[in-house]
């Protein structure tokens, strides 16, 4: 019998996967074949020489589980927004609804709140003046009185023009000090000309 199938049977035998019938034929072959006996010895040594899987300490496994747990939590957090797409897909509708609610609340407080309406909010200031203007139209004396009062109140509220320009520029000594001799001479000529003296000679 050729040795090639026997080598495969040897491998199966080591894995416990060889049928009893083949196992007896294998044993018969091995009794006669020195090479195959040598090969089986090598495989047995190989099997024995395989290092055990690297086991780790209990601390390692505790750390392993902690790290995995935190990663699983991240996976779960990433999943949740996907479940919320029903709401996310209608975010414009939700925003519009929110806007409408805010507008309704605003109108309620502006118009329907107890104790007044939008009109009553400004009427106390508008009504007396309107009533006075109507009376002024009917009575010229009242009209004059009203006009005087209005002009006086406008004058009180308007800043005085004279207040801003009360100090003439010529009264500022710095103005004269900042001028050159030529400029001073020019001013003197102009002043004399205005006063009819004909200027400097």
């Amino acid at each position: 019998m050729r040795c090639e199938p026997i080598e495969k049977w040897l491998s199966d035998d080591l894995d416990g996967a060889l049928s009893p019938q083949r196992k007896s034929r294998l044993e018969a072959h091995l009794r006669e074949c020195r090479d195959c006996r040598g090969y089986r010895a090598d495989l047995t040594r190989l099997q024995a020489g395989i290092p055990p899987s690297a086991d780790r300490s209990p601390e390692y496994w505790a750390s392993f589980e902690r790290r995995l747990e935190s990663k699983l939590a991240i996976v779960d957090r990433a999943r949740k927004p996907a479940r919320a797409t029903f709401f996310a897909g209608r975010r414009w509708a939700w925003a519009a609804a929110g806007f409408l609610v805010m507008a309704a609340v605003g109108v309620y407080f502006a118009v329907s709140r107890p104790g007044g309406t939008l009109e009553t909010a400004w009427a106390p200031y508008e009504d007396p003046l309107a009533r006075l203007l109507l009376e002024a139209e009917a009575d010229p004396e009242v009209e004059n009185l009203v006009n005087r009062e209005l002009q006086a109140s406008i004058a009180d509220a308007t800043p005085g023009v004279e207040d801003d320009y009360a100090v003439p520029i010529a009264a500022d000594p710095l103005f004269w000090e900042s001028l050159s001799d030529a400029e001073l001479e020019y001013i003197a000529v102009e002043l004399e000309r205005e006063s009819g003296n004909g200027g400097l000679k």
Partner: protein, 191 residues
């Protein structure tokens, strides 16, 4: 520690129960780690991969079919995550080697299977790790599930989505490759 039966934990986890899922993690973390460690050949990578396996399981546990075996399912995820990782690492390694070749850089690395040096059993184990890590991905997956996790060919076939014969053939080829690569060390150990 959650002492409920595994089926109850699975059912509650399917409904979003994270505490129940944590119970499943505690049940399977060592086995999952064993698979991805052997597949990746590195503790740091194995740590990342094991976390990735359980994250993937949590994301898709709602689609886990009731009545099927949770361990088959979680092993399948572990193997798929590992194979994806190996493909990615292979691409990165190829790219790095390509750039090294262009630059004419001598990496100065020794032949990992040189028999020189220590011939002790510890040396064999180191070489064994390297040899297992050099197996093609699907061979390694079969090897890890059967040799490391002690699964039958039928269970490994269920996880890997192939026939028992395929697992049997891959195991035979994986052993042939390892035996050929480690022959010098096996001889020294023998003597």
């Amino acid at each position: 520690m959650d002492e409920r039966p595994e089926d109850d934990l699975v059912e509650e986890a399917r409904r979003g129960g994270r505490e129940a899922f944590a119970g499943l993690v505690r049940l399977y973390e060592r086995r999952v780690y064993g698979v991805v460690f052997r597949m990746a050949g590195d503790r740091s990578d194995a740590d990342d991969l094991a976390q990735e396996v359980f994250l993937t399981a949590w994301r898709s546990i709602a689609s886990f079919r009731r009545g099927s075996s949770f361990y088959t399912w979680i092993y399948r995820i572990a193997v798929n995550v590992s194979l994806t990782f190996l493909r990615k690492r292979r691409r990165e390694k190829d790219r790095a080697e390509f750039q090294e070749n262009i630059a004419g850089v001598d990496t100065g690395r020794d032949d990992p299977f040189s028999p020189e040096g220590s011939s002790s059993r510890a040396e064999l184990r180191v070489r064994m790790d390297e040899a297992i890590a050099s197996l093609p991905g699907h061979f390694r997956a079969s090897f890890v599930l059967v040799m490391d996790q002690g699964l039958s060919h039928a269970d490994a076939a269920g996880i890997l989505g192939c026939s028992e014969n395929t697992v049997s053939w891959r195991m035979h080829k994986a052993r042939k490759i390892l035996q050929a690569r480690l022959k010098p060390y096996l001889g020294e150990v023998r003597s």
